[in-house]
């Protein structure tokens, strides 16, 4: 029996994501310069750093919401930045994204929100789409809320519904933009557990943008740390090792805050 985490396309053994010499920003302002890193298949990878360092900008460049001014992004060995429309659409099917506020479509119910990517990308019958949407919502703990509208649920539930939508096509990579933002510690912890469960069940590669230390130390396999002045990566490795051994004061100051200092 094969694993259910092999890439749908591209080579089967290389990294899930390769970023090479990426440069990007907004309206002529360079925020990121010469950013290069790889993310292994099935890895939980965190992009960390202080506010305004370019974490979310990097994420937007990875998923194609912003176009890099230089450099390349590859998924499973296939270039995303240079892909034509058909290849790009093919690659888009391989990843899902959870936006900071859930970004649910307010005019649709939760079930319809999850069903939309299935309607767009699969030839499943309406009944099958409904089954999958219901399952995905149940997997994130929203069983029974299928016919609610986003305005009728809490912020934490919106995030979980957003996650169910991101998981609708069983993506091989899921991107999370500040998943803990605006959540209480218990809900935040549950979301972390959900991320671990997704990786465990489906072998999904997870990329998380966060500055939530509890999550970083609890679930990250590896992190890269961005710095605003440096406009790029200043540290890369396992979070506890970086916290214990890094000689860069920017890294230690960030990772050794408060009570979460690893013992």
């Amino acid at each position: 029996m094969g694993e259910n985490k092999t890439a749908r396309s591209g080579n089967a053994s290389g990294p899930a994501i390769e970023v090479q010499g990426l440069q990007g920003g907004y309206e002529g302002t360079v925020v990121l310069q010469d950013v290069s890193f790889t993310v292994a298949r099935g890895e939980i990878f965190f992009i960390i750093g202080g506010s305004g360092c370019g974490k979310s900008t990097l994420l937007r460049h990875l998923v194609g919401l912003n176009t890099p001014t230089a450099g390349a992004v590859k998924f499973f060995g296939r270039s995303f930045t240079e892909a034509n429309a058909a290849a790009r659409r093919d690659l888009l099917k391989t990843f899902g994204m959870l936006f900071q506020g859930g970004a649910l479509w307010t005019s649709l119910t939760l079930r319809q929100n999850v069903a939309l990517p299935l309607e767009e990308y699969t030839g499943l019958s309406p009944r099958e789409i409904e089954e999958i949407a219901t399952l995905k919502l149940a997997q994130v703990g929203l069983g029974g809320f299928e016919d609610y509208y986003p305005s009728e649920i809490s912020g934490g539930m919106k995030k979980r519904a957003g996650l169910a939508r991101a998981l609708a096509l069983d993506p091989e990579i899921v991107f999370f933009d500040e998943p803990s933002a605006g959540l209480d510690p218990v809900t935040s912890r549950k979301l972390d557990e959900l991320i671990l469960q997704i990786r465990e069940t489906f072998g999904t590669t997870i990329v998380v943008v966060s500055h939530e230390l509890a999550s970083i130390f609890d679930i990250a396999d590896r992190v890269i740390m961005l710095d605003r002045a440096h406009k790029g990566i200043i540290a890369e490795g396992k979070p506890r090792e970086l916290a214990a051994r890094s000689r860069d004061p920017r890294v230690t100051e960030f990772l050794r805050r408060g009570d979460l200092l690893p013992q």
């Binding site: 029996m1 399952l135 029974g144």
Partner: protein, 371 residues
Amino acid sequence: MPLLNARASATAEGDAMEVRLAGTWQITEQRPSWEGLRGAQNPARVRLLTEGVEKWDSSLLLFLFEAQQWCRGSGAYFDGEALPEKIRTLLAQLAASHETSVPFDRAESFLSSVGVATQDTVLKAREIAHFVGECVIGAVGLVRSPRKFRWHDCMDEMQQCGPMAVPIMSLVSLLVGVTLAYIGAIVLRQYGGDIYIADLIGLSMVREMGALMTAVVLAGRTGAAFAATLGNMKANEEIDALQVLGIPPVQFLVLPRLLALGVMMPLLTLYANALGIIGGLIVAFGLMNIPPAAFWAEMLTIVDLSDVATGVIKATAFGLIIGLAGCLRGLQAERSAAGVGKAATSAVVTALLLIIVADSVFAVLFNALGI
């Protein structure tokens, strides 16, 4: 038939069916169906084997779920013992979510719909009364301590709803004057009363059309902008922030806008009157050969300052109506992008409706007063 990456084969052994699944099962690709595989067979036991499956996702689950549901319906035994633990767990989740998912009925009975609508109307009327009351109290406060008033914001709003609206007002008013003149000419020519086109244009622009057309333009331009701005501020919790700081939103956001419209509307109306008369004058000269001096002299025989005053009074009232409708709808907006859009639409509709009602009231009132 296209070759499927996902494969399923069935072998019958007595009353049992052994189903072997193989290949790549992906939700975005075609897959075999349970009904197609079963055909006409009605086994008493179905055994599922997935050793040949290379990779899988929800597509495989759907197939297994179909088989499981068929077994449940036909009384056959679903043997999933050989399935990997992960698949069995997900299959159980899918079955559970299928059973617990009860459609949420949003349909309401006629009586409850009427009740909710009535309650909603009463609530809205109360909100409007409360809002207008707050505005009056705020205005009294403004007169008592004008230093507290946000004059800078008010000037900005005046700039936005006054001078910035001049180009569109010029075009609209000129064309209204032209149109009125053309229509008037059709009737007046039949009686040889060409010169009275000046009376028609002058009176209708000054008493009615100047104020009305200015109000229509500003309801669409400024009223909608007020509602969208305030609605967006509400969605971003900016209005909550004002309230937490103890600053009444009406004083901070509404009064400067109301005053701006209350001042700019009469000025724009006077401007619209002038442009409309010029439009009529152009048509009278070009179409009916009436010299501008004769047009002007004739117009002054019927239009006096009281007519101008009625237009200005109406314009001030219309301005306040547009401001109140725009700000009220903005403050009532739902906290979402769609809510902001609805608020802007609602502001325009409310303002236009109230303007027409107010115009009728003014017509009756001025007639009664003999103005």
